[in-house]
Symmetry: C2
Subunit: 476 residues, 2 copies
């Protein structure tokens, strides 16, 4: 997977805004080695079962030419190493050296890095062998504190997805079958994509004492007793880019929520090749002098017939651009439309006379003629709020409209066959039964949502009485 600049700018924006939230809660960032000795992996029994099958294995430390002048791996390692599929083993190994007393706790750490899981069936941004993510790892004195941390981070992820990406999510707990390999339990946020499949958009794991026992993380307690610590881990990845693309896009291409759009506005001069562009350029420059903040930074471009770029805030790196390329106006319109830029402003010779322009909003396809003097930073702020609200409401409606209820296994199968989407039903989680259902329907329990009632129902599979409701869906 190559993440090209338009996509990577979205990731940088996600990183910056999520990192602030992580730091506000007292976590600190650090960096741990990418290569994990094979023996580390085996220290937690479930963990190794979950990850050994998809590890990139480093076995040699150089390449050498053989007699046929072909490069061959050489310098075999005494112990193979794997490229981290996730860093619990490496980080908890270090924690065991850093924790002695309750005074050393809590440790609240986070890492932004690349990880690798060898995948047979990849799908851009949703399932790739290498991906970028953050992984938080924390150590606590008590079970309660670790559990609180797990939930606090799930809430942070949910708030981030909904408020920044405008992606509605369902918070809940994974079933035993679907939890993280090595966790006591796993919480997730699940998003419903427009193709009716669900996407696990983020997870937060309560690891109990599994890793602290495997890696010997012990501390002297306030009562002067040696105790095993309680740990958590939690992460979101470049998969979030997939989530926002598949939540908001339409037939014309991407639709980006303003908070992560690399460009907020694309200004498109409407000129044919032979027309003199002096007047249009003048009007656009007047528009820019109203709209740009005083400390906007113009990026010098190599060519006059190029895209002119203004960074409107160096901390967010968001830009307003003017597309002076000598392409047909229709091509330029489509170029910015398919990239999902929230606002497009068109100015041609006709608009010059009336000092007006046409403003096109990407998310709901509305157009408005406006006076260029009315396009101020306040107007832009107002527009971005409006666009966010429109996008979030639309996505919420979609999720509601594609969530149904099943009262029997037959009905679950029928609903899933009729149409993808979420199906809510009473169900007692059970590894064996979930396997059967997945084989028969291809759907899995996405999570046991937090919004349970105390009402008693009937498990759709066993017919036993239960209060537990779950969401089934096809998933990536």
């Amino acid at each position: 997977m190559v993440i090209r600049p338009e996509g990577y700018a979205i990731w940088e924006s996600i990183q910056r805004q999520l990192d602030k939230r992580i730091k506000r809660l007292g976590h600190v960032n650090a960096y741990f080695p990418m290569l994990i000795p094979q023996s580390f992996l085996t220290k937690e029994a479930e963990h190794v079962e979950g990850f050994a099958m998809e590890c990139a294995v480093v076995t040699h430390s150089k390449l050498e030419k053989d007699s046929g002048n072909q490069l061959q791996p050489a310098g075999p390692l005494e112990e193979p190493m794997v490229i981290r599929p996730t860093s619990e083993t490496m980080i908890n190994h270090m924690f065991s050296q850093w924790v002695q007393s309750y005074r050393d706790l809590p440790i609240l750490m986070n890492q932004w890095c690349n990880v690798m899981r060898w995948e047979m069936r990849t799908r851009l941004f949703l399932r790739t062998s290498e991906f970028l993510w953050q992984e938080g790892h924390t150590v606590h004195e008590t079970e309660e504190e670790a559990e609180q941390e797990t939930l606090r981070m799930l809430d942070t992820y949910a708030e981030f997805c909904e408020k920044v990406l405008a992606v509605p999510v369902i918070k809940g707990r994974k079933t035993n079958k679907e939890k993280f390999a090595g966790a006591v339990h796993t919480y997730s946020i699940e998003a419903l994509l427009q193709d009716g499949k669900a996407l696990q958009a983020g997870t937060s794991h309560f690891l109990g004492q599994n890793f602290s026992k495997g890696f010997d993380i012990q501390y002297l307690s306030r009562e002067q007793k040696l105790e095993h610590a309680w740990t958590t881990s939690w992460g979101v990845s470049t998969r979030l880019i997939g989530a926002l693309i598949m939540t908001h896009s339409d037939d014309q291409g991407l639709v980006l929520p303003p908070a992560v759009a690399p460009q907020l506005i694309a200004i498109v001069p409407i000129l044919n090749k032979k027309q003199d562009d002096t007047e249009v350029r003048n009007t656009i420059n007047q528009l820019l002098s109203n709209l740009l903040p005083k400390d906007a930074i113009k990026i010098e471009s190599a060519h006059n017939d190029d895209i002119e770029k203004y960074i409107i805030d160096e901390n967010t790196n968001q830009q307003i651009v003017v597309d002076y390329r000598k392409h047909r106006p229709g091509d330029k319109r489509y170029y910015w439309e398919k990239r999902g830029i929230p606002l497009r402003i068109e100015i041609g010779p006709r608009e010059v006379e009336s000092r007006s322009c046409m403003v096109k909003r990407r998310c709901d396809d509305t157009r408005a003629t406006m006076q260029i003097d009315d396009l101020t930073p306040d107007w832009l702020q107002d527009q971005t709020n409006t666009i966010y609200n429109l996008m979030f409401e639309k996505a919420q409606q979609f999720t509601q409209q594609n969530t149904r209820t099943a009262n029997s296994y037959e009905q679950l199968k029928q609903l899933l066959e009729e149409d993808a989407g979420l199906v809510r039903c009473y169900f007692e989680p059970n590894d064996e039964i979930e396997k059967i259902i997945q084989e028969e329907t291809k759907a899995a329990v996405r999570n046991i949502p937090f919004d349970q009632t105390d009402d008693l129902g009937t498990c759709i599979y066993t017919g036993n009485p239960t209060t537990t409701q779950v969401y089934f869906a096809l998933a990536y």
Copy 2:
């Protein structure tokens, strides 16, 4: 190498400030795969010679248990892959698919990532197998434009080192022997560390058409001819953390330049364990209400007897902290001193009465008694400027005092034996002779500095007339 939070915060600060400079110049960030097929490496002849000997090689895609229940590498790959030692091969492979016409040029791209070079002798931050860096890669229509880009980025690195890290550097060109494997020529910035060794702090490579020919990056020119493009690459790494540590530290520990210090001020209450701390806490809170910006964010800590942290700017993540831990005052002083925090403020019961405090400046060990009402954001800004100036001047003086001139090879050897440091002399670069000199003195040509005169001198080794002056030094 584990980069712990104090060190990683410095890297984040370097990233943020350098990234702004890179983007202002029109570069865009992207992300390319970490694993490079072995066959890619061989497409540029010098490049593979330079890097094959230090590559981590991935040969398998999973681990499986053998009959003895031990994990073994399994799923052998058809073609081995290496973890990127640098990404010219991967990125130029992609460029060849993106470039068709002169209209696609220039491409100005940058990547922040981890890289791996298997090292036998590692040294923390200066030479480690895995390290973090940015690598810029650009493609141009003309030789001149590529050469300009190479120099522009060298200037950017030099300005960054001097203005942000307060590390003086010497700009120059590497000799043929010392250039990057695959470059036509390499420019570097070199810093002189306090142990008298030089450190290559950043490099910028003019790659000519070497990679565009190896990877077939061709474009249709303005004259409708198919031409090979001209490429560059340039990078700095976590080594910069080593550079700033070894430029500014003293016997008490680190001394951090304010622009990258994770904490600007550590406030240390001076109390013995039995004293009531109410009054001191009140005074410190008054001090904070003057000093903190209105939008400062307090990080909630788990314990009352902990370090209280205030983020004073979420974009820089810099903090002001109050150390309420129940340690001995001397231990707390030393704790912040060795971490190099630019300013320490001490307040004890005596200071409470006079609403004063003791301000200690780390870089020059000066102390001043100040009224707490005088400690304002403006005062802090003023102090950080002063500290930067003091640190940069001191480092510049050190470099000047440890730079000497040699008029003969005998004198070069003598000077290097007497004391480490830089030696400037007339020398005609020559691969063979440089090898001999390195064997005999352990020193190498650091670079051919830009500040040449046209004066004719005598090459210290061959005795031939030459105008070329170089710097020799021991190096990391």
